[in-house]
């Protein structure tokens, strides 16, 4: 074919000789190629590390948002202490992207990182359905179960007593507010006085919002989003989406009802900027000073400082919320599919130990979930550079003490998302009727949580 000028006779002889082994060889080569292609994409974690035969081990850590380990220099410190170990972090910006991917990897048993973070809104689901896919960290070397806040470790404990997740941080909630905007709207700016404006009652928070909006600087809103307000109110309720036994019961929950009524009134009063939390426009709105308050769990301080930027440094302050609550917080787990479970468990234990949690807090603001770290002087006395002289450590550690442990359930994340990013956002964007938005969301949730 390539050379039509060749004479037929020599060509046939040559071809006959050459052709016999050729198909077999070609097929073998192709198969080898295919197999190689499949296997290399199949097991991404742990390959190419030269296995654990006393050589080097690469541990991968999958997480989302800002866990603060890199920022606090913890990975580098651990690698210095353990020369045989290399740590690679795989970070996804949003948890709502991260969790479906984690589930796909768990289902296929490949592509998993040695350590995988799980958010509190999902941990109940993982504990209930997938405990057998994770290493019991309660019995792993270097883990001190008693160090964690009891309710925190309880959330990651499976029925048989296996602890499948070690608590990283908790999210005691306060309110971050802009001093300059408050002043322009004629509101007090001192954090004690601000806290008094709404002390004890979320309805007062709404009233303050109306007061602000009446004299608001042009183009600004009192708060960022109705969804954020909703989450804040639900977080401070003793019972949230589930009844006392952990069964989904959001329709009859007084906490959900109060939060819904309050946030829909906030939309109607025009005090919400109508943004979608954690989305790009929301990030941009921080830098452009579009809203004066945001419900502020301790981990939110990292976002506030990062997104508001240097131009707004010193303008934010933090006041106590109308009532104490916990919003968010995460766990580190070790999937059984990992190749270096022992090393991974040791790393997870080290990262969640009090000394390291304290370091994370002082560098990015994620509040420790161990009692030991919470009482450390460097946590209690911590101040975040971005927030000036605000005693962040004191405010959040004090809130952490007054959190009432709540019941969490397997559908919390899904219900929260459908109500905030679905129903409430559709009211903000489409001026939907709140009653109709609620019934649409209920229909959708009921359909999704049924088999």
């Amino acid at each position: 074919m390539r050379n039509p000028g060749t004479t037929p006779s020599t060509r046939t002889a040559a071809a006959r000789q050459a052709r016999k082994p050729l198909p077999a060889a070609a097929v073998a080569a192709l198969c080898a190629l295919l197999v190689a292609g499949c296997s290399s994409s199949g097991s991404s974690s742990g390959t190419g590390t030269g296995a654990a035969s006393g050589g080097k081990v690469t541990l991968t850590v999958g997480d989302y948002g800002t866990f603060g380990y890199k920022e606090a220099g913890l990975f580098d410190a651990y690698m210095r202490e353990h020369p045989g170990i290399t740590i690679v972090e795989h970070t996804v910006q949003q948890e709502s992207d991260y969790y479906p991917a984690l589930q796909t990897h768990l289902a296929s048993g490949s592509g998993l990182d040695d350590i995988q973070a799980v958010e509190v809104g999902r941990i109940a689901q993982v504990v209930k359905k997938q405990a057998n896919k994770f290493v019991d960290l309660g019995t792993a070397a270097g883990v001190d179960k008693g160090a964690f806040l009891p309710w925190k470790s309880q959330q990651a404990t499976a029925q048989g007593g296996a602890v499948i997740g070690l608590g990283t941080d908790i999210g005691p909630m306060a309110i971050c507010y802009r001093k300059d905007l408050f002043q322009q709207a004629g509101l007090p700016t001192d954090r004690a006085e601000v806290a008094k404006l709404w002390q004890g009652d979320w309805a007062k928070f709404l009233d303050t919002g109306k007061q602000y909006q009446a004299k608001a600087p042009a183009g600004t809103f009192f708060t960022d989003s109705a969804g954020g307000l909703f989450n804040a109110v639900v977080s401070s309720s003793p019972l949230q989406y589930d009844d006392a036994s952990g069964k989904l019961d959001y329709k009859n929950s007084p906490g959900v009802k109060a939060a819904w009524d309050l946030s829909t009134s906030a939309i109607q009063a025009g005090i919400s900027a109508g943004l979608k939390q954690f989305d790009t426009p929301w990030n941009q709105a921080f830098a452009n000073s579009k809203f004066a308050t945001v419900a502020c769990p301790s981990w939110m301080t990292a976002i506030v400082s990062d997104k508001s930027g240097p131009a707004n440094k010193g303008k934010w302050d933090i006041a106590a919320a109308p009532s104490a609550g916990n919003w968010g917080g995460s766990f580190l787990t070790v999937p059984k599919a990992g190749k270096h479970q022992k090393e991974a468990a040791a790393l997870a234990a080290w990262l969640t130990a009090p000394a390291q949690q304290a370091k994370v807090f002082t560098s990015v603001g994620n509040l420790p979930s161990t009692t030991g770290a919470l009482s450390r002087p460097e946590v209690q006395g911590a101040k975040l550079d971005y927030f000036g002289d605000t005693p962040t450590g004191q405010i959040f550690a004090a809130t952490a003490q007054s959190i009432n442990p709540t019941v969490i359930g397997e559908w919390d994340g899904l219900v929260k998302d459908a109500l905030t990013n679905g129903a409430l956002l559709s009211i903000e964007q489409h001026q939907s009727d709140p009653a109709k938005a609620w019934s649409t969301a209920v229909k959708e949730i009921d359909d999704k949580v049924s088999d």
Partner: protein, 327 residues
């Protein structure tokens, strides 16, 4: 392959009086002749079996079960339950409607623009090669990168498009929030990405149109627009049909653009009120957000059936045209 095989049988197969008769060798040889072609094409078909047909059939099997992604080793027989549930779900019909409207909004302008562009590029232009490559650039850009940039452009508060509209005295548009605005925005992304690709396909077809047709048309006094309508378009009709089918398939499966357009929080639901949830997103929302793999598989099969229906319609149209021509 042919020019090797034909002479090999003719002189080689009937060589008179072979010294030691080696029947096994002849048999092997004959077997080789017959089997080799199949072996050569086997890799493709093995791949197709493993990665095309098997998943297709297995998806159909899964769609008859209730399967949770988190415990995917347990399957419960459900018959056609997943399909009846889907047909009673408002969100499915909403997604079907959105897929259709976004499909029309993106495909029609896209193909018309591609035709026009191809026609212009078919003239002798200075820097023709540059324009042709430039048109293919959007196609070579990753969906994620393109969509993220467009999402910024279409931002409600700080997007460039609203900024430009503001200068024209028009109010800001909440592109992602509105129903039509979000669908138009997504269609713009799709159109931007695929127009150049289709234009190149048209261009290739146009270059195969015999030049004397244009000359004859010009002699008859046809201007360029008339030449385009009466010479170019009829000549490349099969190509146009091809692009319509391919774009139709692409529109039915639209997924990446709306997902990324909405971002992490509302991408899977296609907006707060599902205003741009396509069938692909509906499938993803059910399967990878609520973890109902069986339901997702049912949606996937429904999408396949829709595509087959489109294909059948296309075939029917071609047949009708041919029959008319024949009569």
């Amino acid at each position: 392959m042919l020019d090797e095989a034909v002479p090999a049988t003719a002189p080689g197969g009937r060589r008179p009086a072979p010294p030691p008769p080696r029947p096994w060798r002849t048999r092997l040889y004959r077997w080789d002749l017959k089997a080799s072609p199949y072996l050569y094409v086997a890799p493709f078909f093995l791949c197709f079996l493993a990665f095309g047909l098997f998943p297709l059939i297995y998806t159909g099997w899964v769609s008859l079960h209730s399967v949770d992604l988190q415990t995917s080793d347990q399957m419960q027989w459900r018959g056609f339950g997943n399909y009846t549930r889907m047909l009673h779900d408002d969100l499915f019909w909403n997604a079907l409607r959105n897929t259709l409207t976004i499909g029309l909004l993106s495909t029609v302008p896209q193909l018309l623009m591609a035709l026009g562009l191809a026609h212009l590029l078919n003239y002798r232009l200075r820097g023709r090669g540059f324009f042709r490559i430039a048109m293919l650039a959007p196609y070579a850009t990753s969906i994620a990168a393109a969509t993220l940039v467009f999402t910024l452009l279409f931002g409600r508060d700080y997007g460039m498009i609203n900024w430009a509209l503001g200068h024209l005295g028009l109010g800001p548009v909440d592109w992602e929030g509105g129903t039509w605005s979000s669908q138009i925005a997504i269609s713009v992304i799709v159109t931007w990405r695929w127009t150049g690709y289709n234009a190149l396909i048209y261009l290739a077809a146009m270059q195969a149109v015999p030049h004397d047709l244009y000359e004859a048309a010009a002699l008859d006094g046809a201007n360029r627009w008339q030449q385009f309508r009466h010479v170019t378009v009829p000549s490349i009709r099969p190509t146009i049909l091809f692009t319509v089918v391919v774009s139709g398939i692409g529109a039915t499966q639209l997924f990446g653009e709306p997902l990324l357009f909405g971002g992490g929080a509302t991408g899977h639901s296609g907006g707060a009120a599902h205003q741009y949830q396509t069938l692909g997103l509906y499938l993803y929302d059910q399967g990878w957000y609520a973890f109902h793999l069986g339901r997702a598989a049912a949606v996937a099969w429904t999408m396949l059936l829709i595509l087959l229906a489109i294909g059948a319609l296309n075939l029917a149209l071609v047949r009708i045209r041919r029959a008319r021509k024949g009569s």
